[in-house]
C-alpha cells in the first residue's frame, strides 16, 4: 500500500529503528499515525498517514438540506462545535443576505468565545500534561465542564451541540444560562491565574517548551498556517479582526502574538486569547443590556424553523416547518466563501448553491488539516518526547483533520 509507508530494515549495518507512533497511541490524543525513523531518541524522518476517521462529510453535504449539515459541522472540531455551527449558519446567512439583529450577534459572540476557551483549555492543559504536569490538567479541565453546562442550558447538548438556527438561536438564553455565564466569569479568571502561575515561570516547563519546534513566520505563511500557531510566529492575522463577522467590530480586544513560534509562545498566545475571550464575553453581556430583550433570531420565516408548539397547532407553521426540513427553500444560485476564527485557525466554508434543495458543493477549509502537514517535516531532528509536545501544542483535532 502506498499509503502505509513501511521502511525495510534490510540493511544489517543500519542502526535506525522504525517506530509506528499511532494510529492509537496514548500520547497522541487522537487517531494519528506517524511512521518514524529513529536514531536513538532522535527522529531522522517521519511520514504522516491520515484519514483514519474520514467520514466523507463533503459528499454527505451534497445530499443534505442546509439544516442537516449543521450536525456534520459539529463533528469537525468537536472541541469547539458551536464555532463550526455558527460558521455554517453565517455562511448560509451570507448566501441568503440575512441581517441578524445585534442581540443575536452578541449572544453568538458569547457562545463562540466560550467554546474558544474550552478549545484552548484542552490544548494548553494537554501541553502541560505531556510535559509531566498532571495537576494543571485536572485543575483547569473542570472549567470545560462548566462551559458545557452553559451550552446544555442554551441548546440542550454538550459536546456536539448543533446549536442555533439560520438567523439566530432556537430559543432565548434563560436566566439559569446567564447565571451560569456570570458564575463562570467570576470563577474562571481566578483559576486561569493560578494555572498561569503554575506554568508560566516554571523552570521545568520552560526547559521543555521554549525553543522547541521554532517556526519562522515565512515558513508558517508558506504552509498556510492560521490561528494561534501562526500568531505565535508573530503574524497578527485573526479573522475576527481582518474580516469581522457577528459584530466583532463592536468589541475592544487584542490579538496576542508571539515572537519565535516555539511551543512556549503557542502556549502563551493561547493563554492570552483566553483572557481576551473573557473580556469579550464581559463586553457582550454589557452590550446585551442595551439591546431589546427577547430577540433571539432574525425575522426570516422562510429559513428559520418555527417553534415546536406552533408546528403542532398551526397550519402555516407546519407548512413552513415541512418546507424547511425538506429543503424546499429558494436560495440564490451563487457561490460564497465565509471564514470564521475557529479554535485552530481560519475555518472556511466554500458553498456553491445551484438552486437545488442541497448544496451543489460544500468544501470545508479545515485548519487542523492544513496545519498538520508540517508536523512530520518539523519533527526531523527532534527528540521523540519533543515531537509529542509539539503535536499537543498544534492542537490537531482528528475530526477536523479527516472531515
Amino acid at each position: 500500500m502506498n499509503n502505509q509507508p513501511v521502511y525495510t530494515d534490510n540493511d544489517p549495518q543500519s542502526e535506525l529503528v522504525t517506530l509506528n507512533l499511532g494510529p492509537t497511541h496514548p500520547a497522541t490524543h487522537g487517531v494519528f499515525q506517524n511512521v518514524l525513523q529513529l536514531d536513538g531518541e532522535r527522529i531522522v524522518s517521519g511520514v504522516s498517514t491520515i484519514g483514519y476517521i474520514h467520514r466523507a462529510f463533503e459528499k454527505i453535504a451534497e445530499h443534505r438540506p442546509f439544516y442537516q449539515i449543521t450536525p456534520l459541522t459539529d463533528r469537525l472540531n468537536y472541541c469547539s462545535s458551536p464555532i463550526n455551527n455558527m460558521g455554517w449558519h453565517m455562511t448560509v446567512e451570507k448566501l441568503l443576505n440575512i441581517q441578524t439583529p445585534k442581540r443575536v450577534d452578541y449572544l453568538r459572540v458569547i457562545v463562540m468565545e466560550l467554546s474558544r476557551i474550552a478549545d484552548h483549555i484542552i490544548c494548553n492543559t494537554i501541553i502541560a500534561q505531556d510535559t509531566g504536569a498532571t495537576t494543571t490538567f485536572l485543575y483547569l479541565f473542570q472549567f470545560r465542564e462548566h462551559i458545557y453546562e452553559i451550552f446544555e442550558e442554551v441548546c440542550g447538548a454538550r459536546l456536539t451541540t448543533n446549536i442555533g438556527r439560520i438567523g439566530g438561536f432556537e430559543r432565548d438564553f434563560n436566566d439559569i444560562a446567564f447565571a451560569k455565564i456570570n458564575k463562570f466569569l467570576k470563577e474562571f479568571p481566578v483559576a486561569l491565574k493560578e494555572f498561569e502561575s503554575l506554568l508560566n515561570r516554571n523552570r521545568i516547563f520552560i526547559d521543555r517548551t521554549a525553543g522547541v519546534a521554532r517556526v519562522p513566520a515565512e515558513t508558517a505563511l508558506s504552509y498556510s498556517w492560521t490561528g494561534p500557531l501562526l500568531r505565535a510566529t508573530g503574524v497578527d492575522y485573526d479573522v475576527r479582526v481582518s474580516e469581522p463577522y457577528s459584530s466583532y467590530q463592536d468589541f475592544d480586544f487584542e490579538v496576542p502574538v508571539g515572537t519565535s513560534g516555539d511551543i512556549y509562545d503557542r502556549y502563551l498566545v493561547r493563554n492570552e486569547e483566553m483572557w481576551q475571550s473573557v473580556r469579550l464575553i464581559e463586553q457582550a453581556l454589557e452590550k446585551l443590556k442595551k439591546e431589546p430583550a427577547g430577540i433571539f433570531h432574525a425575522d426570516v420565516p422562510d429559513f428559520y424553523l418555527p417553534a415546536k408548539e406552533e408546528v403542532y397547532n398551526n397550519m402555516e407553521a407546519l407548512i413552513y416547518h415541512f418546507k424547511i426540513v425538506m429543503g424546499e427553500i429558494d436560495a440564490p444560485k451563487a457561490e460564497v466563501y465565509h471564514a470564521v476564527e475557529g479554535g485552530n485557525g481560519e475555518l472556511g466554508f466554500y458553498l456553491i448553491n445551484d438552486g437545488g434543495r442541497t448544496p451543489y458543493r460544500l468544501h470545508f477549509r479545515r485548519p487542523s488539516f492544513i496545519n498538520y502537514q508540517m508536523f512530520a517535516h518539523m519533527s526531523e531532528g527532534m527528540l521523540l518526547s519533543d515531537a509529542i509536545i509539539n503535536m499537543s501544542s498544534m492542537n490537531i483535532i482528528a475530526g477536523e483533520l479527516d472531515a
Binding site: 457561490e335 468544501h363 508540517m374
Partner: protein
Amino acid sequence: MEESKNQELIQLLGNRFGEKITGINEPYGLLTFTTSKDVILDVLKFLKEDAAADFNFLTDITAVHYPEKKQAIAVVYHLHSMRNKVRTRVKVFIDEHHPTIPTATSLWKGANWMERETYDFFGVKFEGHPDLRRILNMDDLGVHPMLKQYPLEDPNRVDKKDEYFGR
C-alpha cells in the same frame, strides 16, 4: 472599499494577462475569475509576488465537478492578501478525461496536502507535485469519490428513494 480594490486588481490582471482572464464577477464582494491551465502558475505567481496585488497567503485549493460542462472539473484556488485584506478566487476548468494542471507547491508549501486531497477526491493530477498520493481515502478505493457520477448511498436501496419524499 472592497470594490475599488477589486477594480484595481482586474486592471492589473488585464494588463498582464489580457484575454487569458475571463469570467470576472464579484459574488458577495469576492473577486472571482477564470483562467486557463497553461498560465495558472504565472497568474498565481504574479498574484503572489506583485507588490500591488500581494496575495501572500494560499487559503485553500479544492475542485468542483460539473458533469454537464465540456471542461468538467473546476480547480478552485482561494488566495488572501493579509495586508490589503482582500480575497480572490481563481478557477481553472480542465478536461475530465485528462485532468492535469501544474502544481502550486513551488509557490506555497502548504499546497502539498491541499492538492493531494483534490487528487484523492477528484482525480486531478497536479504535474510536478512531489508526493501525489491519496490522503484521506484508502489506496485501493479505485475511484475518485467526489465526482458526481458516484452516488452517496447504494442506489438499490428502496427506503431512501427520492420519489417517496416528493423529490
